[in-house]
Subunit: 487 residues, 2 copies
């Protein structure tokens, strides 16, 4: 029953840009020279045949002349283009209005203009997860866990996270007067922050014991290639013995960027990815790099899509890396965007090609199977508990089920995890309440439910509970040991 | 959890035509003279401005020139019109391709060409519910409960019901060679049926004890007005003392038809319905009839929409009738269709007006509240049981819940109806199995589940279990008695 709710709801993290699932070809790439551009250049004639123009014009007239409410012609024309795109039945081909187009391009570029704070939704509040390094927010003194109450006098109370983000963001050079609640200070703190261009942190790296490097790539933006190379170099200079690359929940990005990254691991002459255009012509991207002598594993999950899957395919099939985690998303197409042609800031994102793994398989709608399957504990993806009704012995519903999964994840033994509140569940709730210094009732009221969720969020953020990362590091460790004993 | 599944799944009845939820203005009505037609008549110029045509043409070019698969231009243009309609955000305004347009018009007309058998889906088979009176199917000897195996040699096995219906239907004069399985005969029976125009049975009437007439209207098609008048006259000639009109699950139909029907009950000079056009001009439809001296109740439910709601509003506010059952659907707009203008058999259905009840209220998205609320038993809307896994003691899921609702509805006492299979549920299952002469195990396997569902369907078809109808008749009986004692 919970299938449609499996997306993590407790942790809505890092919604800074609204990065769409995409694999993007940057404009200087050979694919981007489109026949469409040619047609358009040929002297002002447009592509609508007379009978097509007549049918569309008639429909527009009939709607405008007869609809019982006022009709916005611009909306009708935008609707028509949306409808054409939808008729392709390809979720990755789409029309974007001016504002959406701008956000899309910022996401591709890996930068946006704003204050530079990664925020999440916490009990209806907008909480700072972390200020981005070097950003105006960091320089002004914004800290992790600060709660943003208002921006330029406009309260963020009751807004959806993306609505709140829209209020916090703004053009470079503009001022954001931000009111912040911080634990330990009685009254709100005021900051005046001048918005600036901020780079998204798409690459994060650290070294684990045993000289095992870990690099997480959150998306493949235009600046991700350079950032990756610089972090990898730093790790190698620290005498790294093996590497874990983490592309879990990475929705994709720019094709040339992922090729650049794969190029560093795939030995010279071997294929990274093949791209097949509409005439079935295949273009093989071959490595110019040297490969690496240390073992590499790649962590992926069902949120790893397109560019992430190209990296997975290349590392597995051409660089001998182990893929770990879950089956990947399954997006095997390449898009490009046409933004100048429409002339009004809107753009068309169109699927222009398929991409194939080095051995020529098309993973679209199938994804890539990991070499070693590792799943996260069930409590990583549990839905929040509805707090309007208390749960107690003999209650039987999905909220009880979620509470049982949480209790179990936190080490209390609820007996079952199927939504039936039995005696063992009562005992587990009592133990939890006692450990949290709540009134020991065995009943899950709103307060107990909130404590359960806070405790769970803390648990999920604990790296020790990240099964997939632990297994990835363990695998690298094993391979280092094996290669050492072979010497 | 079951909210999204509440539609009755067990009984898929009477899908002969695909009647859409609509309130239709027939062409001779004053609303139908559209400004759109005027614009079109004015000398071949079509309504697309140059920059609109250029944007649409550019989009079409870019898609056709760049998309990674072959593109069908007709589909793109149809998609564009669909998109325009969608941009109105009005679920009742829509574009229909040639085939859908034809089905829509048949539904409005209340007739179609085919063999004339009302069919339903029964365990994956296409079963005849009843042959329509006077139809080719009835004349050829098709009977209720016949299972249609194939048409013109094409098997119906594994088809969706609407796909099967599409194969059974065909143009007037064409032959359908139908192979039928009938209980009691060993091998299939062959019929050759010549398809003809068949009237949908949109009006069904009978007399209850105490001279209480019941007329069910399943939709308001063009021929429904006459059929209603003829059935009503027959009942009145039998000295009817009171009337129940049943518009439950009636999705609507033609505006002039429902006005004609209401006209017979609303006293002269009183308002039946008001129609407000896009310029806020209101047109009051006033009765030219005489009203009735006998009491009338109207049965409605959440499937009673548009024309049904006009009838409900008129009878309640201008004819003193009692509304019984559930809150109605809530569709307060009027559509008309433009089919000649597009020139290729396709049509646009456009919302051209609001309608208001006699006292001027707009019931859109709210519906009409019954004077006396009566709901059906919960087992009328239970979902089928998934038969792949057996259910037994200690199982806890929504299939158990559905089974418990069925057991309870059939008079076996499952103890609870929340999806937890306890000892009482085991006992109830055993009692059911024993009464059906199944192996008494207390476990719901596929066979027991099927028996449960068959028993339930039989129960739902039993008029004695129709709470709403019983209450409607009871109310009329009371009002007859009250008026008699007042004399």
């Amino acid at each position: 029953m919970l299938k449609k709710q499996t997306v993590v709801l407790l942790l809505i993290l890092a919604i800074v840009g609204s990065s769409a699932l995409t694999l993007f070809v940057s404009k200087d790439h050979s694919f981007a020279t489109s026949p469409g551009a040619g047609i358009l250049a040929s002297g002002g004639s447009n592509g609508l045949k007379q009978e097509e123009a007549k049918k569309l014009g008639t429909a527009l007239d009939l709607i405008e002349g007869n609809y019982y409410q006022d009709v916005d012609r611009t909306k009708l024309v935008d609707g028509a283009i949306n409808g054409m795109m939808q008729s392709l039945e390809d979720p990755y081909s789409s029309y974007m209005g001016k504002q959406t187009a701008k956000e899309f391009e910022e996401s591709i570029e890996g930068s946006f203009s704003g204050i530079g704070a990664e925020v999440s939704s916490d009990n209806g509040n907008v909480m700072v997860v972390s200020p981005i390094k070097g950003s105006p927010a960091e320089k002004a003194g914004i800290r992790a866990k600060d709660i943003i109450l208002s921006v330029n006098g406009q309260s963020l109370q009751g807004l959806e996270l993306n609505e709140a983000v829209a209020k916090i963001r703004g053009p470079k050079g503009s001022e954001a007067k931000v009111s912040v609640k911080r634990t330990g200070t009685a009254s709100p703190i005021e900051f005046v922050i001048v918005r600036d261009d901020v780079d998204l942190e798409t690459v994060k790296a650290h070294m684990e014991p045993g000289k095992i490097g870990v690099i997480e790539i959150t998306q493949f933006s235009l600046n991700t290639g350079e950032r990756f190379k610089s972090e990898l170099t730093k790790l190698e200079q620290q005498d790294m013995k093996g590497l874990v690359i983490d592309v879990r929940n990475n929705p994709g990005g720019v094709l040339s960027v992922v090729i650049d990254i794969a190029d560093q691991f795939v030995p010279q002459g071997k294929v990274i990815v093949q791209v097949e255009d509409k005439d079935k012509k295949r273009d093989k991207n071959v490595s110019k790099g040297k490969g690496k002598s240390y073992p590499v594993t790649l962590l992926m999950n069902k949120g790893s899509a397109s560019a992430s899957e190209i990296l997975a395919g290349a590392l597995q099939q051409s660089a001998g890396a182990k893929l770990m985690g879950e089956n990947s998303f399954g997006k095997g197409t390449v898009q490009t965007s046409f933004e100048k042609q429409l002339g009004d800031g809107s753009l068309l994102k169109i699927t222009i090609a398929k991409w194939l793994t080095p051995n020529g398989s098309w993973i679209h709608k199938k994804g890539i199977k990991p070499d070693i399957a590792v799943s996260q504990p069930d409590y990583f993806s549990v839905a929040p508990i509805n707090k309007k009704v208390s749960l107690q012995y003999n209650t039987n519903n999905s909220d009880v089920k979620n509470a049982q999964i949480m209790l179990d994840g936190l080490g209390f033994k609820p007996g079952r995890k199927d939504g039936f509140f039995d005696q063992k569940t009562t005992t587990a709730v009592k133990e939890f309440q006692s450990s949290e210094k709540l009134k020991v009732t065995g009943i899950i009221d709103a307060k107990t439910a909130e404590s359960l969720e806070s405790a769970l969020i803390k648990a999920i953020r604990d790296p020790k509970r990240d099964n997939q990362m632990k297994s990835g590091i363990e695998e690298v460790r094993k391979e280092i040991a094996a290669s050492a004993s072979n010497k």
